[in-house]
């Protein structure tokens, strides 16, 4: 007890010096301003997101609970949104499957294979693809691509018709879900390529040399050092691209001739629509609870996009220890 009291007194005695030592060092005004700005920016994002979520929920719930007689689409919300969810996921997944290998290949070519004189122009051209407005892609897909690719669909029906994906009957206009997915793939190519390129370029020279010194060819070096290191980045790039494909409205609305079915058939004239394209199509003529229903489909899209991002995080985190970040 005695020693404790002494110690406490000692603490009290030294508390003045202690206090001066503990106060935070003086902050420069520049630091304070910048800290405030970045905090503000972060909060703004959260506020915007919360605002969107609240709007979608408040406006959407009446649409979800509305009975079939009250809305233009004459059915319950779940039955209405089901095919749309399927179409959205199906088109986006197809687009990702088509775009990912190309994006990774182009990024790898730019970062590791192309001579420097060629690499830069190709990079610019790819970036330029991102600057084309989606309505232009839509017009091109609807007018040019659909017509050009229609004979291919006929061929697919004839020769690969036994696979359900190509069962046919082939669309006469070519405006199928596969055409829409192709347009989407081209649209998501730039962002995926750009991110993959940046990540491939960041592969530590040390690891590349380790592989080469073991007697790796260039491709083996890529598989040993570049891809594993870039794994989480590739997943992130794919997810950003997928997010864009899920939400893309104009191009899909223009290209796709939709009829609200659930079908895996890639080349027929009856295609599922996507949530975003369906909203664009239906919003103008909608009124009352139908509007709420459409907003509710938007809420579903919002939730899907969130889920996709969470899934991507989970994939990236699963092998965190092996990521090379430590």
């Amino acid at each position: 007890m005695g020693t404790r009291r002494i110690r406490e007194e000692g603490l009290r005695v030294s508390s003045t010096t202690e206090q001066t030592r503990r106060t935070a060092p003086p902050q420069r005004p520049g630091d304070r301003v910048f800290g405030g700005l970045s905090l503000g920016a972060a909060l703004l994002i959260l506020a915007t997101l919360a605002g969107v979520a609240i709007f979608l929920t408040v406006q959407g719930i009446p649409g979800i609970t509305a009975s079939p007689e009250e809305v233009k689409y004459d059915t319950t919300f779940l039955r209405y949104v089901g095919p749309l969810v399927f179409g959205t996921l199906w088109a986006a997944a197809l687009a990702l499957v088509l775009a990912a290998p190309v994006a990774i290949g182009v990024a790898l070519f730019i970062s590791h294979y192309a001579p420097r004189r060629l690499a830069q122009p190709i990079g610019y051209v790819i970036d330029l693809l991102a600057a084309v407005p989606s309505v232009v892609y839509g017009a091109w897909g609807m007018v040019t691509l659909a017509a050009a690719i229609q004979p291919v669909y006929l061929w697919l029906e004839e020769h690969l018709g036994f696979i359900p994906l190509f069962a046919g009957p082939a669309s006469a206009t070519g405006r199928t879900i596969l055409t829409a997915a192709l347009v989407l793939a081209i649209m998501i190519l730039p962002i995926m390529t750009a991110i993959c390129r940046e990540i491939f370029l960041q592969t530590p020279r040390l690891h590349e040399e380790a592989a080469l010194a073991l007697g790796a060819t260039r491709w083996e070096m890529t598989r040993m050092a570049v891809f594993p290191y870039a794994r989480s980045g590739i997943v992130s790039a794919a997810m950003l691209a997928l997010g864009r494909a899920l939400g893309e409205t104009m191009a899909v609305a223009m290209v796709l001739s939709a009829s609200g079915v659930i079908s895996l058939n890639l080349i027929s004239s009856t295609n599922p629509s996507t949530i975003a394209a369906n909203i664009a199509h239906s919003f103008k003529e909608a009124s009352g609870l139908t509007v709420n229903g459409l907003i509710a489909t938007g809420l579903v899209l919002f939730v899907i996009t969130f889920a996709v991002n969470f899934a991507a995080r989970a994939i990236v985190d699963r092998r965190k220890e092996f990521s090379g970040a430590n």
């Binding site: 530590p204 040390l206 690891h207 590349e208 040399e209 380790a210 592989a211 080469l212 010194a213 073991l214 007697g215 790796a216 060819t217 083996e220 040993m224 050092a225 594993p228 290191y229 794994r231 092998r319 220890e321 092996f322 990521s323 090379g324 430590n326």
Partner: protein
């Protein structure tokens, strides 16, 4: 397994720039040869030319001959990939593949040779290589952990295990201890002593005491001035080089008067 290296009239260029001029040296098998010299004298460049790793930099080439057991590494039909499979290298900073486990790191070279191995065979290679690298006791319980979970010195020994797992003819070491603490350094130096029974070892070091401790033969590289090519100034048995070198520049460097 261990082979000697004969270098005649080797010039190393980066584009138009002559980096190393006119090297003639014989590196004996089953011995440690150390390269010392001030920064920029071309000792690392020369080391990397011994397994054609310097060619990783665009525009790099050599003229002259590098014979490993009579075979010219720079012959027309020689593929640098095959050269590197026979001549292993350990780098300045430990560079285990972070995305692979400890065991996978050791087997990385084997997998490149696309040898199909049974599980038991692969386990043997892992154990043998890690034992020879003096790391087995420390990692045998956690072979499936990432290589990057080890300390710096352990990582460097893992890299040595990875290099010797493919039974190379020569082992090149480019300042293997310069990023390590003194205790890890001495572990690796002991390891070099043991490895020289089986391998031809060439080590570049910035640390003259290290050269004195580990090597049988020492080569001193120097350059006449900035922008001048590096040259091999003197080569001799390590004791003689440190006690009684022939060249005044060698003596000045070893006594710490420059560099």
């Amino acid at each position: 397994m261990a082979k000697s290296i004969d270098v005649t009239d080797l010039n190393i260029y980066y584009g138009d720039f002559l980096a190393v001029q006119d090297v003639n040296i014989t590196i004996p098998a089953r011995a440690v040869t150390a390269f010392i010299g001030p920064s920029g004298c071309g000792k690392s460049t020369f080391l990397r030319s011994l397994n054609r790793m310097h060619e990783v930099i665009r525009g790099a080439y050599v003229d002259g001959k590098v014979l490993v057991d009579g075979e010219d590494l720079y012959a027309q039909e020689m593929d640098p990939v095959n050269v590197r499979r026979k001549i292993g290298m350990v780098f300045q900073r430990p560079n285990p593949f972070p995305t692979m486990s400890i065991a996978e790191n050791v087997l990385a070279g084997q997998r490149l040779n696309s040898k199909r191995m049974k599980k038991s065979e692969a386990d043997d290679v892992v154990e043998q290589s890690l034992r020879r690298a003096g790391l087995w006791a420390e990692v045998k319980e956690r072979l499936d952990r990432p290589g990057s979970s080890l300390s710096g010195g352990q990582q460097q020994r893992l890299c040595i295990a990875r290099a010797i797992a493919v039974e190379p003819e020569v082992l090149l070491m480019d300042e293997p201890c310069s990023a390590l603490d003194p205790i890890s350094t001495s572990v690796i130096e002991d390891l070099i002593h043991e490895l020289k029974n089986d391998y031809t070892i060439v080590i570049v070091t910035h640390n003259m005491q290290q050269a004195a401790r580990v090597s049988d033969q020492t080569a001193f590289f120097n350059l006449a001035g900035v922008g001048q090519p590096g040259r091999l100034v003197e080569l001799g048995p390590t004791e003689k080089m440190f006690a009684n070198p022939d060249d005044p520049a060698t003596e000045a460097y070893i006594q710490g008067r420059f560099g």
